[in-house]
Each structure stands twice: as C-alpha cells, then as structure tokens.
C-alpha cells in the first residue's frame, strides 16, 4: 500500500462528491432530519427518544454509506476507470483504502452533525458518552463502505446494487435490537444477532455497560470492517479470465 496514492484517491472521491452537492447534502442531512423527525414523534413519550435515538446513530451511517459506495464502486467498474487504474501503479489496497478514508471521514462529519443536533436541539438526554457515539457512527460508516465495495462485485447493474440494500441491511435492522430487544429473540436468532455488525453498533451505544463490553463490540465491528475490506479488495479483478 502506498499512502500517497491512497490519499490521492480519497481526494479524488471528495472532488467527485463536491461536484455533486445534492448527493453530499442528502448524505449529511437525511440522517439528521430523520433523527429529528423521530425526536419530534416521541415528544409526548418522555424518555423514549433517549433510548431509541442514539441507536439510530449507529444504523444510519451503515445504510447510507453502503448505498453510496456500492453504486460508486460499480460505476468505476462499468465506466472502465477501474481497468485503467489497474494498468497504472495503483494497488487494490490503495484503491480500497482510498474509499474507506473518504467515506469514513464523511461518516464522521455526518455523525458529529447528528450528535450535536441531538444533544442540543432535539433535547437528547443520553447517559452515553458523545465521543463514543461518534466513534460508533464512524465504525458504522466504515462498515457500510467496506460492505458496499465487497457487494458491488456481485452486482452487475446499479439496479442490482440498490437491491442489495434490503437484502443485506434489512435483516440486520430487524435483528439489531431496534425493533425487539436482542434478549427477547428466539435463541437461534439471538445467536445470529449477537455477531451481526449492526447489532454490535447498537450495543456499543447502549449506556452503562462495562469497558470490556464496549471493547468487545468495537472489536466485532473492526473485525467486520477489516474482513469486508479484504474481501472487497480481493473481488477487484486486475485480470479478466
């Protein structure tokens, strides 16, 4: 891996996003607005937003970054820029890390924006630590990015790439504890839910747990990020068979 080429790739992705302010605005504002909507809808149930709101901060970046990365990586394959890059001295690791850094940074901005608004305007009184929520959001964004790159290899069209969202994300959303607490799931599903990345993101936001518990949840997320990035890089084919 070459740091210079990696950062150049991240910079290029940022330049692409800056030329598409609508996408950038949607990326940053949609999660913020949705959390705001949730806070408003729960305004007559004291304490409800405090328990549900933060969990969503671990879920949104995953969904949003997954969608954007799977489409943008697929585009690199179909337009031919990926093939061109592979005739140049850019490694798969440079490429994948370039994406991870660009979208990781975006996830961080997104999470800071949502957290700040949640703790101020939306009136969140969460016992969790704000910096840990931001860290979870960053990990969730990286998870979305890494899985987006990996799954874009399986999709042949942008239609298929978008369809992977319900296929891949929604089961995790149902099992992560947002709908029903994980502890109330049937034992088989509980076993599955406990090792899913989105569950780890939600768990890592849950307040008043031990340091070891949080460490474990972050370890699960990091393992998934690393594994998905490696799988993502290995699905990039330098040579057509």
């Amino acid at each position: 891996m070459n740091l210079r080429r990696t950062l150049l790739t991240s910079k290029r992705i940022f330049e692409q996003l800056l030329h598409d302010p609508r996408t950038l605005a949607l990326l940053l504002l949609v999660p913020t607005a949705l959390v705001g909507l949730l806070a408003w809808s729960l305004v007559n149930r004291p304490g409800a937003f405090d328990s549900v709101g933060p969990k969503l901060l671990g879920v949104f970046p995953l969904i949003v970054m997954f969608l954007v990365t799977s489409v943008i990586t697929l585009r690199e394959r179909t337009v031919g820029t990926l093939e061109r890059l592979f005739t140049l001295p850019l490694t798969k690791a440079d490429f994948v890390a370039g994406y991870a850094i660009a979208f990781g940074a975006l996830a961080l901005v997104q999470s800071v924006l949502v957290s700040v608004l949640s703790y101020t305007w939306y009136g969140l009184a969460h016992q969790g630590v704000p910096w840990r929520i931001s860290l979870v959001a960053l990990c969730a964004g990286l998870l979305g990015t890494a899985f987006g790159i990996a799954l874009s290899a399986v999709a042949h069209t942008e239609f298929q790439a978008v369809q992977f969202m319900p296929a891949f994300i929604l089961p995790q959303l149902l099992l992560c504890g947002l709908v029903i607490p994980v502890s109330q799931l049937p034992s088989v599903l509980r076993g599955v839910a406990d090792v899913l990345p989105m569950t780890a993101a939600v768990h890592a936001i849950t307040p008043l747990q031990s340091d070891l518990y949080y460490l474990g949840q972050f370890a699960i997320m990091l393992a998934y990020i690393f594994a998905a990035l490696v799988v993502g890089a290995s699905t990039l084919r330098r040579v057509t068979k």
């Binding site: 150049l8 910079k11 030329h19 598409d20 031919g80 061109r84 005739t87 140049l88 001295p89 057509t240």
Partner: protein, 239 residues
C-alpha cells in the same frame, strides 16, 4: 542500430479463450519504436481482446506477449503503457483538469505534465469543465490525454476515433503520427478500413486470426483492390 534488435512488442502464438470461445488464435507479430500500427478488423474480430492481452488485463491462454522486455501484465509495466479503452474510462463527475491531475498523481508526474497533456489534446479552454458536460469527441480527448501522461514508450489506443467528425479524426491521427515520430510504438485499432491509409503498417484481424501484416500499399497491391474496404473483402474471401 538495427531496429529489430530492440522490439518494444513481441507477440508469439498468442491464444485467448474466454468462456469456451477462442477469441484469439495464435497471433504473432512484433513492433519496434517509432511504428504507427493500425489494427483493423470488423467488430468482434478480437481487436480489443488483443489490446487488453497486451496490457495484461486479459488473461492469456497460450503463447506469449512481451512488452518492453517484460511479459504482459507484469507489475513493472504498470504506468509504462498508455492505454485508451473504448469506454472513455474517465470520471464524468470531475473536471478535465481534475481527471488528468488524479491520474498524473497516480503516475507520480508533475503538474507541468498535466498542463502539457491538456494542451496536446487541445482541451486547455475546457480544463475546468465537467467531463459529463463535454461531447463524445471531447471526452475521447480527455481519455487520450490520460493515456499520454508521462510520454509512455508504448501506446495502445482502442478505437480512439470512433464516432468522431472527420476534422477531429484527422487531427487525432496527426497526433498519433507525431507520437510515433518521437519514438513511441503506437497501436491504434479501428473498424473503419479507410483509416488504414493513415498508418505506416497494418494488422488485419478477422475471427481472431491475423490475415495480413504489412504496409497499406502492399495490401492494395496484394489484393489488386482500389480501396481498403475492397481489399479487406477480397482478403476474407481468400482471393
């Protein structure tokens, strides 16, 4: 120095089978610095596959392809071959300059090289325009500009003039001839037989087989034809 001593390209008995189809059947030729070679043949004859094999992005089934004394696809060749694919292979949501600057960065080329290349492909006045707002011909020139970065000794250009107007085609062929004059080996593919006249040497490909390798004049003489379309037809029919 005898030019055959230092060939830039040596292809021998190159065979490519993809999904059970034999796309290239035992192709052999070599090329030296300063040659402008036209790779002509109908659509589906294997031109792009041959070019992609030389670049190392298409796996070779049999035979060998050596470029600049390395086998095709070896990491040492990355960045030493200028490539222009049939798709524009540039970022539509970046400006001309941002595109070329990114690829120049990957190639560790200075910013002066970005300006030089933009000027060679006559896009200086468009350099701050988004590629998505450019016409097909202008996009092709952005792609060519990326291929020219760092003045690579071998240029592989896949149908660079397809769909362009006659003036632009003439200008591009002049650019290719100029590049060959500076010592580069330039291979340009086309399915328009009339473009044969612009090359010093022709390779005619049909169904994955090399039908002819020689000068345009010798092609006309050998087939007793008046035009290149006719010459190609006669060659296919085996007259």
């Amino acid at each position: 120095m005898d030019s055959s001593d230092r060939s830039t390209l040596e292809v021998s008995n190159l065979r490519v089978v993809r999904n059970g189809n034999e796309i290239l059947k035992s192709i052999s030729f070599r090329a030296t610095p300063g040659e402008l070679i036209g790779l002509l043949g109908p659509s589906g004859s294997g031109k792009s596959t041959l070019m992609r094999s030389l670049l190392g992005v298409q796996a070779i089934t049999g035979g060998s392809a050596r470029i600049l004394e390395s086998s095709a696809g070896s990491p040492s060749l990355r960045g030493r071959l200028g490539y222009m694919a049939q798709s524009s292979a540039v970022y539509l949501d970046l400006t001309v300059e941002e595109n070329i600057r990114y690829f120049a960065g990957v190639l560790v080329q200075p910013l002066t090289e970005v300006a030089r290349v933009v000027e060679v492909v006559a896009l200086t006045s468009f350099s701050h325009r988004l590629v998505s707002s450019l016409s097909g011909g202008e996009r092709a020139r952005v792609s060519l500009g990326v291929a020219l970065l760092g003045s690579p000794p071998v240029l592989i250009l896949d149908e660079p003039t397809v769909g362009l107007d006659p003036i632009l085609r003439r200008d591009l062929w002049r650019t290719f001839a100029d590049l060959a004059k500076t010592g580069a080996t330039v291979i340009v593919s086309s399915h328009v037989m009339d473009e044969a006249a612009r090359c010093a040497r022709l390779l005619l490909l049909r169904d994955g087989t090399l039908l002819f390798d020689g000068t345009p004049a010798s092609l006309l003489a050998a087939s007793n034809a008046t035009g290149y379309d006719e010459a190609f037809e006669r060659l296919i029919e085996g007259d």
